[in-house]
Amino acid sequence: MQSTSALTLCQQVKTGSKALDSALKISGGVITLRSTKQKWLSKLAAGILVLNYKKNSSSLLLNWLDYHQRYWSLDLDYLIKIGNGIGIESEELVRSIIIHRCFSRDNIESPEFWAALGTLPKELRLVVLDSFTELYESDPVKEENKPKIFPASMFNRLVSKHDAIGIILDYSKKTINPYLAQISSVIIEFKHDEGLYAQVIKHPYLADPLIEIPVAGQQILKRWTK
C-alpha cells in the first residue's frame, strides 16, 4: 500500500515545460536528467526547485561540484525571478531551499557527510543532486575511493527516507552509470544538436528501456576483487 505522502507526490514534477511534465508523473523515486550542457540543465533544476515549492516544506539541493570550475553555480537571480513570477515571496523561497555543498569525493564517501544530512527536516519534498558525475571526472582516483554505487545508493536511501522525489543531474558525455540507471525510475536524456529534444530512456510506463543500459563496465578497484 502506498503511503499518504507518496500519494500526495503522485503528481507531476513541474518543470516549466508541459511536454516534459507529462513524462515526470511518478509516485516517487529517482529521476535522472542527462545533458552535456551544464548551465542549461542547472537552470532547469533551479526552475524545478521553484515550481515545486510548497509552503512549510523544504527542498534539498546537493551541490557536488568541482570547486575550481564552478564554485557558485546556482543562478539566484533566475530562481528568485521565477519565484516572484508565480507569486512566491523571495524570502520564503530561499528559506525553503537547503543547500549542502561538497567539493571532493572524500566528502561524499564519508559517513560524516551523510550523517550531517540526518538533521534535515522531515518534510523534504524534493532532493536535487547537481551533479552526480562531476567529482568523479575531476578528482583523481585514490586507492581508498569507493565506486559510484556508494553515493548513488546513499542518495537513494535519503530520498526513500524522506518519501521525497530525487532528481539527479548528470552532465557526463559517457554512458550512464549502470547502478544509477538501475536506481532511477525515470531517465531522460536531452540532446541539443539542431534544436532541443528529450529522449525518455527509462520510464515505469515503458515496457523496455529505449536504449540498452549497460549492466557491466563499472570501474572495479583492485581491493574490491579480493
Partner: protein
C-alpha cells in the same frame, strides 16, 4: 662527538633516513637517523589492543605502539590510536591497502606526510638553523639549536648543456666539462646545484648524488608569481644561473626553515601546498593526527543563510573622475591577520568552551575561540610575523642589494600568506573548512566598513575601497596618519598609509560602468601609480607603457578640456607616426607572457601560444610581435612585417581606457 653546523638537507638511502649537515668548518656531515618510518591507524572503539597485536605480526611492521591522540578536528578528546613503524617505506602503499581492509580499522593517518618531514617535526628541527650536533659513529643523536644565523659556506654550482657536453662551474672555479658518467664525482663537493638540464625524474635520481640540493631555476621561477627577474638573471649561462640562484637561495632558506620542507622539494611544489606542511606541523604540536583525507564537511544551510555568509570582500566603487590629495591606505596581509587575530580555524570556530566573551562574527551567529589557539593561526602566525619583520627591515635598508634580498625573502613568505585564505576552502586540504573561509570574509567586510565609518567621523571622504584597501580624501598627511592609527587600534588589523596622490583618476570601463581596480595617479613624490592599465600589466609592450607615461601626467595636470584634447591628440599622432614610419624599436613592440605549463598541454590559440609554438625558449617566456602573418616570436620578425593596424588599434583602445569617464568627450 659534537660539532656545530647547519641542517641543510635530508635524504633516504636503502630505506634509511639521513640528515645532511654543513659544519662551520665547511665539511659535509651525513648522519643516519635511528628512527623508523611510521604512520597512524585509527581503530574502532575497544579494538586497539587486538589490532596492535594482529598488525605487529605483519612482516613489514617492526612495531606497533598505542598512543593517545586527537583524532577529530572538532573534538579535544584524546583517543587511543596505533603508531605503526615499518622497515620498508617502499612497500608502505601495499601495507596501507591491506590495513584499510581489516575489520576494526576506521582510517589511516599521516601516510601522506614524507618520512623526513615527520622526523623534523617530531624533533623540532628546522632546515638552515645553526645547531650543536651530537653524533656517534655517523649516527645522529640530537641537535641543540644555537642560533638563527644562516650558513655562509655553502658551495653553489651551476650546470648547463653545451654542444652535447655538460659545463659545470662554481662561484670560485673555472668551467669544467663533464660527462654523465663522471658527473656524480664532479658534484661531490657541491652543496647546491642550479640546473635546468635534468628533464626527467629518472635522470635526476640517477645522476645527482643523494643529499645534494638541486634547484631547477626554470621551474622554480615559473611557479613564483611575485619574483621579478632582473636583466642579470639568466638561466642560459653559467654565471647567470649562479647570480639568479643566489637570489632564489634566500627564498629556499626562508621557506624551508618555516615549513619544514626540504629545500629541493620547495622548488617543485606549489606555494599553496606549503600551507599543508605548516599546518601539519601545527596540528602535530597540538596533538592532532594529520588526517589523510579531509573529513570536515560544510553544514547544510538554507539558501537564505548561504546568501548571508557566502560573500566576497566589500567593494566601494569609485565615481569616475579625477580627485586631488587622496590617501591610499592598505591593510597589511588582511586575511591572514584576521585568521590569527580572530583565531579562525576549523577546530576553534564556534567552540563549545567559550560561553561568554567570545569573538562574535558580525552578520552571522558564529564566534571565534578566545581560549585555545587553533591549528591554522598556530601555523600561520610565525609566517606573518616573520614577513612583517622583513618588510620593516626592508624599509630601513639603505643598500640596494640588501633591499632586494629582503624583498625576495618577504616575497617568498607572501606566497604562503596569499594562498592561505584560498586553502581554507580547498577540498584537498585536510584542515579546510568553508565556514572558516566565510567567517574570514565576513570579518574583512566588517573591518572595511568600520574603517569607512571612522573616515567619515574624522571628516575624511572614502572614495574607493576594495577588500583590503581604502582611498580617502579631504585630509592632510597628519590627518591620514591619524586615520590609519585609529583604524589599526579599533579593528586590531594593521592599516598602513601607502602613499598620497597629488591627483588620481578613476576611469569608467568601455561600456560606461563604474569599475574597481582601475586607476592611475601621481603621488606627492612624483611617481605614477596605477592599476588595470597597460602601464601596470606585465605583458604589455614597452611602447604602450611609454604612451601611458606620456599621457597620464597630461590628463592629471591639464584642467582645460580643450587644451587637454589638443595635447592628447598630438601625442596620439606622434605614436601613430612612429608605427607608420617604422620609427620604433622592434623590442619595444614585443608582448611578453609567461608559459606556465607544458606547451603541448595547451589547446588554445591565444597569440602568445601561437608565437611560442613557432620557437619555444629555455626561459618559458613567449615574446612576440603582431605581424601581418599573425603573432610571431620576436626572433622571426622585423619592422617591415609588423601589423601596423593592430598596434594603432591598441593605441586607440589604450587612450579610450585612460580617458573614459575622465574627459567629457570620452564619458
Amino acid at each position: 662527538m659534537k660539532t656545530d653546523g647547519w641542517l641543510i638537507n635530508s635524504f633516504e638511502k636503502q630505506s634509511r633516513l639521513y640528515l645532511r649537515f654543513k659544519t662551520t668548518q665547511g665539511n659535509k656531515l651525513d648522519l643516519l637517523v635511528n628512527s623508523l618510518h611510521y604512520f597512524y591507524l585509527v581503530p574502532k572503539k575497544n579494538m586497539v589492543e587486538e589490532l596492535a597485536y594482529k598488525i605487529s605480526l605483519h612482516p613489514n611492521v617492526v612495531k606497533t605502539e598505542i598512543e593517545l591522540k586527537k583524532t577529530r578536528i572538532l573534538s579535544d578528546s584524546l583517543e587511543p590510536v596505533l603508531k605503526i613503524s615499518i622497515n620498508c617505506p617502499e612497500n608502505s602503499k601495499e601495507l596501507e591497502t591491506q590495513l584499510r581492509n581489516i575489520e576494526g580499522v576506521l582510517e589511516l593517518a599521516e601516510t601522506k606526510l614524507p618520512y623526513y618531514f615527520k622526523f623534523i617535526a617530531d624533533n623540532q628541527l628546522s632546515f638552515f638553523k645553526k645547531y650543536e650536533i651530537a653524533y656517534n659513529n655517523e649516527e645522529y643523536v640530537n641537535a641543540k639549536e644555537i642560533g638563527e644565523q644562516e650558513p655562509d659556506n655553502l658551495v653553489l654550482a651551476s650546470l648547463i648543456q653545451v654542444k652535447g657536453l655538460l659545463a659545470l662551474k662554481t662561484q670560485e672555479s673555472n668551467v669544467e666539462y663533464v660527462t654523465k658518467n663522471n658527473l656524480n664525482y664532479a658534484l661531490r663537493n657541491i652543496d647546491i646545484l642550479f640546473a635546468s638540464w635534468f628533464n626527467e625524474n629518472q635522470i635526476r635520481k640517477k645522476l645527482i648524488p643523494a643529499g645534494l640540493i638541486h634547484c631547477d631555476l626554470r621551474e622554480d621561477v615559473r611557479a613564483d608569481m611575485y619574483f621579478e627577474i632582473n636583466e642579470k638573471d639568466n638561466v642560459e649561462t653559467l654565471d647567470g644561473q649562479i647570480i639568479l640562484g643566489k637570489r632564489r637561495l634566500t627564498r629556499l632558506i626562508e621557506l624551508s626553515r618555516i615549513t619544514g620542507v626540504k629545500p629541493d622539494i620547495i622548488t617543485k611544489i606549489t606555494p599553496g601546498s606549503l600551507n599543508t606542511f605548516i599546518h601539519a606541523i601545527a596540528a602535530k604540536q597540538k596533538g592532532f593526527l594529520v588526517p589523510d583525507k579531509k573529513k570536515l564537511v560544510e553544514a547544510p544551510k538554507t539558501l537564505l543563510e548561504l546568501m548571508a555568509v557566502d560573500k566576497g570582500g566589500t567593494i566601494l566603487y569609485p565615481s569616475p573622475g579625477t580627485y586631488e590629495n587622496v590617501a591610499k591606505c592598505d591593510f597589511a596581509s588582511m586575511y591572514p591577520s584576521i585568521i590569527c587575530k580572530y583565531n579562525i580555524s576549523p577546530d576553534t570556530l564556534n567552540c563549545s568552551c567559550c560561553s561568554e566573551n567570545k569573538f562574535m562574527i558580525k552578520g552571522i551567529d558564529w564566534h571565534g575561540c578566545r581560549k585555545i589557539e587553533g591549528i591554522i593561526p598556530t601555523g600561520l602566525e610565525p609566517v606573518l610575523l616573520r614577513r612583517l619583520k622583513l618588510k620593516h627591515l626592508k624599509k630601513q635598508a639603505i643598500n640596494a642589494q640588501e633591499k632586494q634580498e629582503l624583498n625576495d625573502r618577504q616575497g617568498a613568505l607572501k606566497t604562503i600568506l596569499v594562498t592561505c585564505f584560498g586553502y581554507l576552502g580547498f577540498s584537498n586540504f585536510a584542515f579546510s573548512n568553508v565556514e572558516c573561509k566565510e567567517a574570514v570574509v565576513l570579518i574583512g567586510r566588517f573591518v572595511l566598513e568600520q574603517s569607512i565609518d571612522i573616515a567619515n567621523e574624522m571628516g575624511l571622504t572614502p572614495i574607493y575601497g576594495i577588500v583590503d584597501s581604502l582611498f580617502v580624501k579631504n585630509g592632510n598627511k597628519e590627518q591620514y596618519e591619524e586615520f590609519v592609527k585609529k583604524v589599526s587600534e579599533k579593528t586590531g588589523i594593521s592599516l598602513e598609509l601607502n602613499c598620497i596622490f597629488k591627483k588620481i583618476a578613476f576611469p569608467q570601463s568601455s561600456d560606461g560602468s563604474w569599475v574597481a581596480n582601475k586607476y592611475y595617479g601621481i603621488t606627492n613624490e612624483g611617481e605614477i601609480e596605477s592599476r588595470g592599465i597597460s602601464l601596470r600589466h606585465s605583458d604589455s609592450c614597452k611602447w604602450l607603457k611609454e604612451f601611458d607615461k606620456r599621457i597620464i601626467p597630461i590628463i592629471l595636470s591639464e584642467d582645460n578640456e580643450k587644451e587637454l584634447l589638443i595635447y592628447l591628440n598630438s601625442i596620439l599622432n606622434e605614436f601613430s607616426r612612429q608605427i607608420r614610419e617604422n620609427d620604433v624599436c622592434l623590442k619595444d613592440l614585443a608582448i611578453t607572457k609567461r608559459i606556465r605549463g607544458k606547451i603541448s598541454e595547451y589547446t588554445s590559440n591565444a597569440p602568445h601560444l601561437v608565437a611560442y609554438r613557432q620557437l619555444p625558449t629555455q626561459d618559458n617566456h613567449s615574446k612576440f610581435i603582431y605581424t601581418t602573418e599573425g603573432p610571431k616570436p620576436i626572433q622571426l620578425t622585423n619592422l617591415n612585417n609588423i601589423d601596423k593596424k593592430k598596434y594603432q588599434t591598441l593605441l586607440q583602445h589604450e587612450l579610450e581606457a585612460l580617458c573614459k569617464g575622465i574627459t567629457k568627450q570620452n564619458s
